[in-house]
């Protein structure tokens, strides 16, 4: 079915499914089929922030004092976060918007993606402060094998869905041969790709991001790189919300509260979806291996990070109706809770080191000694 930016047919968005119904026409929010997405939009907008508001100037000094293994951990982690948000800043828009049928869900996806672009901009803000020329760091994201392997897995399901949608929108259902390769396009296949893609996004936001957050906050636990941690806290708060939204979508499908065919697909593809999570867990453990290859850091090592991956995977998988696959008794990184608590995210500008608010923004720390040579 050809995509139209303004569907001229009268539709009733209250009976449309979330995806693969009629294209949206009027962006109206006075009535909602799934009110949760409108609530998520409101919450997300209330979280608005700008990376430039956070003073990261002290991180440069901290960074110079890190040991070489710690620098490797910090920079690799930042590269990985940059990759994740590069993907998330564009993919939900490109993959989901052309097939969404509800105005509130359409706007949620746009709001969600927009916040991911704030995250991407904040990595540049952090790196520009640490290096006079961060080009090498950015360039490495596309050539580093460890990162590339993750990128391939993260973008695979998106790319699959996007390509199938393009074929469907231009050629319709049927068997299409493109460059000698035959693709079967029908509603069932499209919906199956959508279901797997949503699971992959959920695994990304639910597990992969949290592994990277743990590394960032491990530095903050030692009072190092605190500007960076302040930014990642804001990012983590947003990601919590994004995670909620994909959990809602998956659960609405699985519980038959949206499209009955999606409920059937959710049942049929349960094992495949589970494999996506298990694969993400395995990859994150490999990543931990790479992070700590030169040595660990105080408070965090490969074993603890791997335990945390399993712990968080248990939590996330049970949230969408899967069994907990790992045997982890308790949270191996209990201090993570403090960083993820939204009460601890500084929101009042005058209370934090926000450079756009402070007058003497370079003086992020002043001690009594600074006045030692001043005589009256």
């Amino acid at each position: 079915m050809k995509y139209t930016t303004f569907n001229q047919q009268s539709t009733n968005p209250l009976v449309e499914p979330m995806f693969f119904g009629n294209p949206v026409n009027v962006a109206r929010y006075d009535q909602q089929k799934h009110a949760i997405f409108e609530k998520l939009i409101e919450k997300q907008i209330s979280f608005f922030w700008r990376p430039e508001e956070v003073d990261v100037s002290r991180d440069r000094v901290d960074f110079q004092q890190l040991t070489d293994p710690e620098k490797h951990i910090f920079i690799s982690n930042l590269k990985y976060q940059t990759l994740l948000d590069s993907v998330q800043g564009r993919s939900p828009n490109i993959a989901f918007l052309p097939i969404i049928s509800l105005p509130e869900l359409e706007t949620w996806v746009e709001t969600w993606s927009f916040f991911e672009t704030i995250h991407s901009r904040s990595y540049t803000h952090i790196l520009r402060n640490l290096f006079s020329d961060p080009s090498d760091i950015f360039a490495d994201i596309v050539v580093n094998d460890e990162i590339k392997r993750r990128a391939a897995d993260i973008s695979k399901y998106y790319d699959d869905l996007i390509f199938a949608t393009q074929l469907w929108q231009t050629l319709g259902e049927g068997e299409h041969t493109v460059n000698g390769e035959t693709h079967v396009i029908n509603m069932y296949e499209l919906k199956k790709k959508l279901y797997l893609c949503m699971n992959s996004v959920n695994a990304l936001e639910a597990i992969r991001f949290y592994v990277s957050f743990a590394c960032t906050f491990a530095f903050a636990e030692r009072k190092l790189m605190e500007g960076n941690s302040k930014i990642i806290r804001l990012i983590a708060r947003d990601e919590n919300l994004h995670l909620s939204s994909t959990q809602h979508v998956l659960n609405l499908w699985a519980k038959g509260k949206d499209d009955p065919e999606m409920a059937q697909i959710a049942e049929e593809c349960k094992e495949e979806a589970k494999a996506i999570f298990m694969n993400a867990v395995a990859q994150e453990k490999e990543w931990a291996d790479y992070l700590f290859k030169n040595g660990s850091m105080l408070g965090l090592n490969k074993e603890i990070l791997c335990q945390y991956v399993e712990y968080i995977a248990n939590q996330r998988m049970t949230a969408i109706g899967f069994d907990a696959p790992f045997n982890v008794e308790s949270n191996p990184l209990p201090w993570m809770n403090n960083y993820l608590n939204s009460d601890n995210v500084q929101v009042a500008p005058q209370e934090s080191e926000i450079s756009s608010y402070l007058v003497g923004q370079i003086d992020s720390a002043v001690s009594e000694d600074d006045f030692a040579d001043i005589e009256l």
Binding site: I36, K39, L40, K43, R237, N240, L241, L243, S244, Q247, H248, N251, Q315, T318, A319, E329, S330, N331, P334, N337, L340, N341, S342, D343
Partner: protein, 90 residues
């Protein structure tokens, strides 16, 4: 003694019982009793503290945004209405 000061008991499966009031946030009550429950946002949008409600009912102070099943509650943003029986994922 008014109704809001009345002590009620929360039965936590496999853990024990704690005493609280209807005026106390459930997550805080659990924490002060030494039950280490998983949490992140404490505002009802992340779902980290998702808990099974086996008996009783609660009132939400904030509309929960995280997905919760029909038999689940988010202790971070609710108060018990009376005695509860819950199962906390530890």
């Amino acid at each position: 003694m008014t109704d809001k000061d009345k002590v009620i008991h929360i039965d936590i499966v496999d853990v024990g019982t704690l005493a609280t009031t209807t005026e106390t946030n459930l997550l805080k009550a659990l924490e002060s009793a030494g039950v280490h429950i998983h949490y992140h946002c404490r505002e009802g949008f992340c779902g980290a503290c998702r808990t099974k409600l086996l008996d009783g009912d609660v009132t939400y102070s904030t509309d929960p945004l995280a997905f919760i099943d029909d038999d689940e509650i988010l202790p971070c943003c609710c108060n018990p209405n009376g005695p509860l029986k819950i199962k906390v994922p530890l």
